[in-house]
Amino acid sequence: MPDEVTESAVPSDVAVTAPDDVAAEILGVSDDAEHEETGVLWVIALSGIALIVCGWFLPWYVELTANGIGFSPMDAVLTFTGIGTACLYVVGLGMLGLIGGALYDVFCLATHRGTPFRFSNQRAVIAICGVAAVTAISILIGVFHEEPLFGNLSPFAVTDNAVWMTLTGFALCAFAYGMRGWISHHGGIAFTAVAFAVGAAFPMIFNQSADFVGWGARFAAIYVLLALGLNVVVGFAGLLDLGYAAFFAIGAYTTAALSGPHYGLHLPFWVIIFLGAAVASLFGAVLGAPTLRLRGDYLAIVTLGFGEIIPDLATNNVFGATGGPNGLQAYPASFGSFNLAQLGAIPANTKYYFWMLLVLVALVVVALRNLERSRLGRAWVAIREDEIAAAATGINTVSTKLLAFAIGASVSGFAGAFFGAMLGIVAPENFQFAVSVTVLSTVVLGGIGNIAGVAVGAILIAFLINWVLPYMTEWTTTLSRVTGATQLAGVDFSRYQYMFYGLILIGIMLLRPAGLLPSRARKVELVAATESETESLAALQGQA
């Protein structure tokens, strides 16, 4: 039987009874993925270190620019009095212990002795102590606000900010170090916990720069929402949507219409956000319907069209409903009789507003996480992988895709409702193509398909737009004054926003093509693509 001989030479002869090493190799990828999940650990540790560094250097920077008397943990160390100083010493000593532990780990890794990178009870205790110390100090700051808590120097505007930043940084580092074993195995939960803890503390960290909390933080939270929503469409279902700003606009216009003077309806805000989301998701389904047969590039072009149509309709004041290029007036968030605007000064208002936004982000994250793991989430991935096979396996591809569009749009509707209330005037210029591109780049930057990843991407981009670029302008102006380099004065870095996006995206594509925190499947896809490329290259070279 000659054919039997030739066929047994086929390499697929692994069959059901594969030897253990082959099975291990087949299953191997998942082990790799587990090992790789230190990404979250790095994010937490690096942001902790960044906060400490910023906290220590912020007062000097303020002194340099505003001629104010800065006060920092550094000063507290030098003044030897006050409870705050003592607390900082405690935390600082704890940090020294952590650094010592880290050095021990490096020693273990270098000499292959001892047991580094293991979860242990002592480290968990250290981490909990760090968090407890921060909590204690935050309470003390509240109680002794008028007292010379941090020594004899009178607190200046940035005092609390610097202390808060340093303490948060310490807490993050302690958490990252003490719980690293747990973090690297539960990346998602750890990231979520840290993100919301830091997010909740954010208005306190920046309590004296109300502008930054008021605009920057809320902007970041809104971009997180947008990125989460777009991630459903692009990341989960694999449908490239270039017109996502359209749904954002619809949410914002709905808010303006229902809260502002245009129609005279002054509905409470907590009703409006849900109506905004509902209207946006309805439009999501309506606009999604014509694209159902399209894929890839064609789908992207059609969604791009929708992204242009909506602002255009708004500019032309269609049915007299949008107020034309001047936009519609929206009233700030009002909660019926409980009006946040009356709670006090503007910073307090924005603080509650931000916390509310944060709660909404948390709810959306939980909901999307649940969806991702559900029957529907699997159906989305199946459609992304192979639509025909998905249809033949019993998935209703039409309704599943429409649900992706509708759910993605509803999240964007939430974001739009908050954005409208935050802007005060909802105008078409806020929803141009650039917004869609920005949101898409946050998703790509963070890691397509991974909830934690896209949140990181959105925070980074918002941070870049609202903090880094404007301050770079100030820094270079200061630098030009100090060094006498006049060319540097008056360079407005905010105008180079898209150049920076471009550079960041190029960098990410070259260094971490699946994003900062890639989803597992994407990572495997990339590995597979690289392998097959290498194989074909090898084949080519073999032939040559």
């Binding site: 069959a15 059901v16 649940n370 992988e385 249809a391 033949a392 396996t393 495997v524």
Partner: protein
């Protein structure tokens, strides 16, 4: 035995090409029926018509006495017809168990809101479905690869996984498109055992296959297509001796050579 699937004069035209032309036959409940024919005879097109991936140009298809012509693929799957593909179409970057769980999709009931709030019934269903998926993998002998990505499985096991995914929706008719293609002799034998076992479990099987040893070994009845038309139908021995079949495979004049 009553007819589970009734194909009545189906025609599929692509532009000027009649890929399937006025083909009629029946698949009886509990039978193993094979469809053979030279390359390009329209076998896979017929499969695609039955599973609703292609709209029919003419003719009707009935399943359990119910007309399924014009139904979308997922509704046909829900009624109880599932299939595998000639060139394996697994969800490569999902794990094996996830692939099978996608197969369970049409049997699940959780709605969007159940998933968003993770209601107790949704959790219970997810748990049950995972257990069922693992049981299906066990039945096909690939349970140990449950957490491996589908693309990393060896070819033969990918074929098995595709059958597992098709079984997950609880079909009464299983369509297999060249299930033995690319398998070695041992895997082919295992496949034949598997098909026989599935049939004894009450499943009706309709397959396209080129490997004559497989076809002749397991089929109750064979349908032969050539150039989109049905040229023969009957028991394996009868089809094997049919001059038109021999002609379709080997060219005219071959039937006389066969006899001599």
């Amino acid at each position: 035995m009553s007819a589970l699937l009734e194909i009545d004069g189906i025609t599929k035209v692509f532009g000027g090409l009649r890929a399937v032309s006025n083909v009629s036959f029946e698949v009886e409940e509990g039978a193993i029926v094979s469809m053979i024919g030279p390359n390009g005879a329209g076998k896979t097109t017929a499969f695609n018509c039955i599973t609703g991936l292609y709209p029919l140009s003419d003719g009707t298809i009935r399943f359990k006495g119910k007309k399924i012509t014009g139904m979308p693929p997922h509704r046909i799957t829900r009624l109880g017809i599932t299939r595998t593909f000639q060139n394996i179409r697994l969800f490569s970057f999902m794990t094996a168990v996830d692939n099978v769980m996608v197969g369970e999709h049409s049997r699940m009931h959780a709605k969007v809101w159940d998933a968003v709030f993770r209601t107790p019934s949704e959790r219970r269903e997810e748990r049950d479905v995972e257990q069922r998926a693992l049981a299906t993998l066990r039945r096909l002998g690939i349970e140990r690869y449950a957490d491996a990505y589908a693309r990393n499985l060896p070819y033969g096991l990918q074929r098995r996984l595709e059958i597992a995914r098709a079984l997950a929706s609880g079909p009464s008719l299983l369509l297999l498109d060249e299930p033995a293609a690319g398998l070695n002799q041992r895997e082919k034998r295992e496949l034949m055992e598997l098909i026989a076992e599935l049939r004894s479990g009450g499943l009706t099987i309709f397959l396209i296959e080129h490997d004559m040893r497989v076809v002749m070994g397991i089929s109750d009845r064979i349908v032969v297509l050539d150039h989109g038309e049905k040229i023969a139908e009957g028991a394996p021995q009868a089809v094997r001796a049919n001059p038109r079949v021999i002609e379709a495979y080997l060219g005219s004049g071959a039937s006389e050579m066969q006899v001599s």
